[in-house]
């Protein structure tokens, strides 16, 4: 950098008065803060003896879960949008034709590498059917790397564990006028073919 550059505006620091030069006001300010914290309520949590309280579990981004639909099947339709959105490439899906007559596609396998995941929540945002969600479970540990690759059953079991405390966060539960409605209907069963097609 050229110090004689015309575009640089040089600023002088303000002159300090006698009081400032003694550092006493700043010192008193600092010692007040220290003393206040010394006698106030303690914020440190003695984890793991004491569990950490999460203020809003619906906003927290912890371990993933795969939601189930009304019939207890995996809600995911294997559209790969979470895998597409994932910046860490930690989601691996193998899609297949679903074994159920009312569903077309489902994930034959669905694995998330929890060690690779950066818990950004983009998968949750991308999901068109609210199948993947981040829960408030944060104490994630395992004895091997393989153990930390969660498969479909494991992710569904996270759902079973957490669904009582954390309801599904459907973005499509509120009624909206037709013109402003987002791209998917509230209840998928509404849209099933009405005429009985033989095939």
């Amino acid at each position: 950098m050229d110090p004689h550059d015309k575009s640089i505006r040089w600023i002088k620091p303000p002159e300090l008065g006698l009081l400032e030069r003694s550092y006493l006001p700043l010192f008193l300010d600092g010692i007040t803060t220290t003393l206040r914290h010394l006698f106030s309520r303690k914020k440190t949590v003695q984890f793991p003896d004491e569990p950490h309280q999460i203020p809003d579990p619906l906003l927290y981004r912890g371990v993933h879960r795969l939601n189930r639909d009304e019939q207890g099947r995996v809600k995911c339709v294997a559209c790969f949008l979470c895998a597409t959105a994932c910046p860490a490439h930690c989601i691996d899906i193998v899609a297949a034709e679903s074994p159920w007559p009312d569903r077309e596609k489902y994930p034959e396998s669905f694995t998330i590498d929890e060690l690779r995941c950066i818990f950004c929540g983009m998968c949750e945002e991308a999901c068109p059917v609210d199948a993947i969600e981040l829960t408030s479970l944060y104490d994630l540990s395992g004895k091997s790397r393989e153990e930390m690759i969660f498969d479909k059953e494991k992710l569904l079991s996270v759902y079973d564990q957490t669904i009582d405390k954390e309801p599904m966060r459907s973005r499509r539960q509120t009624a909206q006028p037709a013109g402003a409605r987002s791209t998917l209907p509230t209840d998928r069963r509404d849209g099933l073919p009405t005429d009985n097609d033989p095939s």
């Binding site: 597409t84 899609a95 009312d102 849209g191 073919p193 095939s199």
Partner: protein, 546 residues
């Protein structure tokens, strides 16, 4: 000189070509959206997506008279003085209405639709549709109907009828039809007459939406994960231009690549689904040496030198070059064998012939000769040996004991040699077999070398009309496999990586047949007969002079 005016830009029409509005607009870089029109099919003008304003310029006065109504550009010939307006408010409104109409009953199942990402309905909705939906959303899933070779998602269809016209005009089998009327129109087949012909896979590519789905590809991969590579189909002597769609070294599908000189817009099902052998678990993936009864796995490091040593001591030599290897590889192998033994016998591998040539009404041909490069390999062999020794002649010569060391460059995706033929190779001092799969011949080989499949190698192929096309590798070979070209390159002592372009330059200089290939090879290939015809004419003129 015929001039067309498109959005105020004047286009001088190319001589002798009859264009419609869409094609003419493309020449000036304007894309008119369309669903039902396809350059390879007849014009129906039913989708109304390509509606534009059309007028006529009076040649004498220069006055432009516009037609009061919008007309489809696909059905409007671009003749001298035609005026197309594609960007006016009227046209924009018309496109938005067509999109809205199509989306009224279209299921919103893009997340599970295989076409999502390359769907014209999606693309045009973003480009020409309106952001707000005025109708209620009803269907979420689409009814599915098995109509034979492909699957039909009935409710996704926008009734462009491309598939119906394809089966009527190109495959000539007329299986598909439109049933019902108005909003109840559906694509269907007659009971007991499913869609089943050798070109049926093309209807999936033709479908502008996700209504027709490939059973082979269904739900296996999302399109945006795949990379496309230009390649050549190697399943018959036509050598269709194709796209290889691949993700992480796994081929998921092959699609036709439009090439007016070879395959137009189509490929056959044999080629389309004939790639599965590439990922077959039975493939040879490691070089091996026979020691007594057992096979010993080798490392590539010292192998080229070892092979050269063994070949040198095993003269007289012979080489069998299959019509599946590329021109460059055939040339390098011939050069290699001839450098070790100047009198070596060079033979062409057996030409696989299956059934009869299939001719389709649309002009598409599937040949009985199921190999991509017979012409090219024969031309190379003729250059080195003066004449082409066929496989049967070679077997005879082997029986006569004319060779002690044989190199067989196979690369056949199908079984190609029986026990009886293989037994002729028994008792040789050295037999090097380079192939994709174990065969009766590889059971006798002193060295088994794994070959690369078509998508893993680069090089040129000459189809039965002497049309030369080049193909680059799309996926990496399985670990342990080294493409033939690289091995020959190394054995000839050339430095670095196999460079097929430099080899082809060499070939074009050396071999008359390939002389046209000195220039850059276009994506659609090159006619090798161009120079030969000129040469033939020169010969004729010379004979006249005499």
């Amino acid at each position: 000189m015929a001039v067309v005016i498109i959005d105020g830009r004047e286009l001088i029409l190319p001589e002798g070509r009859r264009l419609n509005g869409i094609e003419a607009a493309r020449l000036v870089g304007i894309e008119i959206p369309h669903y039902c029109w396809h350059p390879g099919l007849s014009v129906v003008g039913s989708c109304r997506m390509c509606l534009v304003e059309v007028g006529m310029r009076d040649a004498k006065t220069g006055r432009i008279t516009m037609q009061p109504k919008l007309v489809p550009a696909c059905n409007t010939p671009a003749v001298d003085g035609t005026v197309f307006v594609t960007t006016s408010e009227k046209v924009r409104q018309a496109r938005a209405r067509v999109e809205e109409g199509l989306l009224l009953r279209h299921p919103i199942d893009c997340p599970i639709c295989d076409k999502a990402g390359e769907c014209l309905l999606q693309d045009y909705h973003f480009l020409h549709g309106q952001p707000q939906r005025r109708a209620d959303l009803r269907p979420y899933t689409s009814r599915r109907r098995d109509i034979g070779d492909v699957t039909l998602f009935v409710d996704r269809c926008i009734m462009c009828s491309r598939c119906v016209r394809f089966t009527r005009e190109i495959s000539g089998s007329s299986e598909l039809m439109v049933v019902g009327r108005g909003a109840q129109e559906e694509i269907d087949v007659f009971p007991g007459r499913p869609l089943h012909n050798n070109l049926s896979g093309n209807v999936v590519d033709l479908c502008p939406v996700g209504a027709l789905a490939d059973k082979d590809f269904l739900y296996r991969q999302r399109v945006w994960f795949m990379r496309c590579h230009r390649a050549i189909c190697t399943r018959c002597a036509v050598g269709c231009s194709i796209w290889i769609d691949e993700n992480q070294d796994r081929i998921y599908r092959l699609r036709p690549r439009p090439n007016p000189f070879v395959n137009k817009w189509w490929i056959c099902n044999e080629g389309r689904y004939g790639y599965h052998y590439v990922h077959d678990r039975r493939r040879l993936v490691r070089p091996m040496r026979r020691e007594g009864q057992s096979l010993h796995e080798l490392d590539w490091g010292l192998l080229p030198d070892e092979l050269c040593q063994r070949l040198r001591t095993a003269a007289p030599l012979a080489a069998v070059i299959s019509p599946f290897v590329s021109v460059e590889e055939a040339y390098l192998l011939c050069k290699l064998i001839r450098s070790l033994d100047a009198q070596a016998v060079l033979a062409c591998g057996p030409i696989p012939l299956v059934g009869q040539d299939q001719n389709f009404p649309g002009g598409f041909v599937v040949l009985a000769e199921k190999c991509p490069n017979r012409r090219g390999v024969e031309a190379v062999l003729a250059h080195f040996a003066g004449k082409v020794v066929s496989f049967d002649e070679l077997l005879q010569q082997l029986a006569d004991g004319l060779a002690r060391g044989v190199w067989v460059a196979g690369g056949y995706p199908m079984p190609w040699i029986d026990h009886q033929q293989a037994q002729r190779f028994a008792g040789l001092e050295l037999l090097i077999v380079q192939d994709l799969f174990p065969s009766p011949l590889s059971d006798l080989a002193s060295y088994i070398l794994p070959a690369a499949a078509f998508a893993e190698r680069e090089g040129s192929y000459v189809n039965r009309n002497d049309w030369l096309q080049t193909s680059a590798w799309a996926i990496r070979p399985p670990s342990g496999v080294r493409p033939e070209g690289q091995l020959y390159w190394q054995m000839l002592g050339m430095p670095g990586l196999f460079n097929p372009r430099s080899v082809l330059d060499d070939i074009a200089r050396q071999i008359m047949f390939f002389s046209a290939a000195t220039c850059e090879i276009p994506e659609t290939g090159l006619d090798l007969r161009v120079n030969l015809l000129a040469e033939g004419q020169a010969d004729k003129e010379r004979s006249h002079d005499v």
